[in-house]
């Protein structure tokens, strides 16, 4: 008896184990299959935050105020859903390259990644590197009842839609603005410049007063292109014609390059052509420069007492007016899902959590706006920042040219910015960038 019982139990054990294995395999298949998943739940399609309990997601972030703000909140996400997260955060240039390499290799390492629609949206969408999100957003079994999708800024969603497919959810919308140091302005007896001519004039008066240089601008080739855009638009020029060919080599465009170059060369700390925001931010925080032109998204960093010496003196102003008007420029970040992810439904849970009214509220409070139209600016936002931001957001133009090979085009335009800053002949450099730009547009993809 004993022997046969033990034999039976062994057989039973083996069968059970086999069934379990089959079961888990089937479960694994189910949770990967979008259609099968809701049918498998007992509640019959009701939304449940705990549904993907036990999964682990890899989140690929660029170093940015948004990723700094969301990272400490990730514990809440795990508590709410049971989904664990692994964050990889890299400086912007390395981040971009890393994502591209993983996508080229169809790697399933990344589940969710930050993405800037203006920069890589067209190219990634063309290559099929975004999981389209429309289906997820429309499926009531996958969207929390309090998500309020209608509250996501429609304009931003349009900017993140390529080929009628929604590629990412908005997380940050940034407007280019002028940061200035009120104390240094007062000491030099100057007021906030409202035109580009005044900007040059004020810079000349501020320079080398109170141990500070007048202005920090991005000068590192491709990185400077976004912040240069307002100068270009302000002079009345644009990146491209209707046909998609370069339109920035006009006399107005050349003037914009000259203005930008002169400011950085004559009134800024030496070595501008090797610097981006990573270097400009600490210079402004330390009071080494009186003005800094960059994305408004760095406001929380400038207002952070632990890192900034100028918290009491900071002022914010819109980009000056030029012959082309008072044109403002914006850029934005979203989060997209990798089409090669093995945890798409769990990834979607993270995405909707990160863009939910509750989390966007917290992130906006921390100083990063743009996720939702309803989010209100908290007490951390200086009044002049809010004024600059809200006024600009309605009319701002995208910072980058709408072409497929943005990275390559940025390198070509960036070379002209470098030449302008170095005081080389500007017009030939801009013409060269124009030729290069058109070649890139024609031969997109090789």
């Amino acid at each position: 008896m004993r022997r046969s019982f033990s034999y039976q139990s062994r057989v039973l054990g083996a069968v059970t184990a086999a069934l379990l294995l089959l079961g888990t395999a089937a479960c694994g298949k189910d949770s990967n299959d979008k259609k099968a998943a809701p049918a498998g739940t007992a509640a019959g399609g009701a939304f449940n935050w705990q549904k993907h309990d036990g999964k682990t997601l890899t989140l690929m972030f660029s170093k940015h105020p948004w990723s700094d703000a969301i990272t400490p909140l990730l514990g809440d996400f795990t508590a709410k859903t049971g989904i664990k997260t692994k964050v990889e955060s890299l400086p912007e240039a390395q981040f971009r390259q890393r994502v591209q390499v993983e996508m080229t290799g169809k790697s399933d390492v990344i589940d969710v990644f930050m993405t800037a629609g203006q920069n890589e949206g067209a190219k990634f969408a063309k290559n099929g590197w975004y999981e389209p999100l429309d289906g997820y957003l429309a499926d009531t079994s996958k969207v929390a009842p309090d998500y309020a999708a209608a509250d996501l800024s429609p304009g931003v969603l349009t900017g993140l839609t390529f080929g009628k497919k929604l590629t990412a959810l908005p997380i940050s919308l940034e407007v280019e603005m002028l940061y200035y140091n009120k104390r240094l302005f007062k000491d030099a007896g100057v007021s906030v410049p409202t035109t580009y001519d005044e900007l040059l004039d004020v810079a000349a008066k501020l320079d080398n007063k109170g141990g500070a240089r007048a202005i920090a601008l991005r000068g590192k080739g491709a990185a400077s292109v976004t912040q240069f855009s307002a100068f270009l638009f302000g002079q009345g020029a644009t990146w491209t014609e209707q046909s998609g060919k370069a339109a920035f080599a006009t006399p107005e465009g050349v003037k914009a390059f000259e203005t930008y170059g002169k400011l950085a060369r004559e009134y800024g700390p030496p070595g501008a052509i090797n610097r981006s925001w990573e270097e400009g931010l600490p210079m402004f925080q330390q009071g080494q420069v009186a003005m800094w032109i960059d994305a408004g998204a760095f406001m929380p960093k400038v207002m952070d007492k632990a890192a900034s010496k100028v918290v009491e003196d900071v002022g914010f102003a819109p980009m000056p007016t030029g012959p082309g008007g008072a044109v403002q420029a914006y850029n934005g970040w979203g989060i997209g899902m990798s089409p090669f992810s093995k945890n798409k439904d769990a990834a979607w849970y993270f995405m909707q959590w990160a863009t939910s009214p509750e989390i966007v509220g917290k992130i906006t409070e921390a100083g990063i706006p743009g996720g939702r139209t309803s989010a209100t600016f908290g007490p951390r936002f200086p009044a002049d920042w809010v004024q600059t931001y809200t006024k600009a957001i309605g009319e701002a133009r995208p910072q980058l040219p709408a072409v497929v090979s943005v990275g390559e085009s940025r390198d070509a335009i960036g070379a002209a910015v470098v030449a302008a800053i170095e005081g080389k002949p500007v017009e030939p450099a801009v013409k060269k960038a124009e030729t290069e730009f058109n070649r890139i547009v024609e031969t997109a993809g090789g």
Partner: protein, 319 residues
């Protein structure tokens, strides 16, 4: 033979029938090994070379006739010589990068050779603390290129770098160092010279140690001075060694990537973009994989022909 002997100690050999069967098998195997041992011993090495070197080169050449971007799921599109036509006739950025590659290599290797030989000859003499100096001198070569590149980048920083601080103490005007599109490449050559002169010195020292003594003694008897001895005896005798040293350095310098990438990323603008950096941008930044392959194919041809020329020069002088 040896196989059979080692088997002899096994207990299974006690049975004559079994042992017979077992003896025949290994003997067949060992006969095979005996007959083909060259092939068998070469196989792992050949396999390695094919997988790691021959295949990538052929694949790159194959890819250079295609247009390919968008990831491994996309089939490369055959365009014949399209990439090469664009590269050679319609891409100023490629030609500028090619010129910079030649300039960088030429400058770096010639300075390193002159300095390296001079220091080698110096270290070949007897003086106090010679061993210590020789060891210290080799340190740059041992350091990881990326690490020393990071250090140089900090030293070159125009606002806070130590080099401009030193210039200020010396009451000299400050320099933009690598933050200048006119000079960036030169300052990168300086880093390369700092790191790789010791290699030439090391090879010079090895060559000098192997030279025969008689010609030097004869020259001393004839009353030749140091410079005359060096010009007429040391240098000609050292030529084969130097050609090898220069070839190694040249191939290495042509494909320099790490120090340029870390210090300037090929910038400002494209001022220090060599062919390697250009190919890197085309492949990893822009995902123009077919075009990048054609750049690398041309680059490969340049490296191979330069090395062949130099080695020809060596055999001719050796005769």
């Amino acid at each position: 033979m040896t196989v059979q002997q080692s088997r002899g100690s096994l207990p299974i050999e006690d049975s004559p029938v079994v042992s017979d069967r077992h003896r025949r098998e290994p003997s067949r195997a060992s006969a095979y090994v005996d007959a083909h041992f060259r092939k068998i011993f070469l196989t792992p090495a050949v396999f390695f070379v094919v997988v790691m070197m021959v295949f990538p080169v052929i694949y790159t050449i194959w890819l250079s006739f295609h247009r390919w971007s968008g990831g491994v799921g996309v089939t490369p599109d055959f365009i014949g010589l399209g990439n090469f036509r664009r590269l050679l006739t319609d891409d100023p950025r490629f030609w500028a990068a090619a010129r910079r590659t030649v300039l960088f290599t030429g400058l770096a290797v010639s300075v390193e050779t002159v300095l390296g030989v001079a220091i080698g000859v110096l270290f070949n003499r007897e003086f106090m603390g010679k061993g210590l100096f020789r060891t210290l001198f080799l340190f740059p070569m041992i350091a990881t290129p990326v690490a020393i590149a990071l250090v140089w980048r900090l030293m070159y920083e125009p606002s806070s770098g130590v080099l401009n601080t030193l210039l200020r103490y010396a009451h000299l005007p400050r320099s933009d160092w690598v933050a200048s599109s006119d000079n960036a490449l030169l300052y990168l050559v300086l880093v390369d010279v700092w790191q790789w002169t010791p290699l030439i010195t090391l090879m010079t020292l090895a060559g000098l140690a192997a030279l025969p003594r008689e010609p030097f003694e004869a020259a001393a008897v004839d009353g030749a001075n140091g410079w005359q001895t060096f010009r007429a005896i040391t240098l000609p005798l050292m030529r084969p060694v130097l050609v090898v040293a220069i070839t190694i350095r040249m191939i290495d310098a042509l494909k320099t990537f790490d120090i340029i990438f870390v210090i300037t990323e090929g910038g400002p603008a494209f001022a220090s973009e060599t062919l390697n950096l250009f190919a890197y941008s085309q492949s990893f930044q822009y995902q123009n994989l077919g075009y990048a392959a054609s750049v690398l194919t041309v680059f490969f041809a340049i490296v191979v022909s330069a090395a062949t020329l130099l080695m020809k020069f060596r055999t001719r002088t050796a005769e």
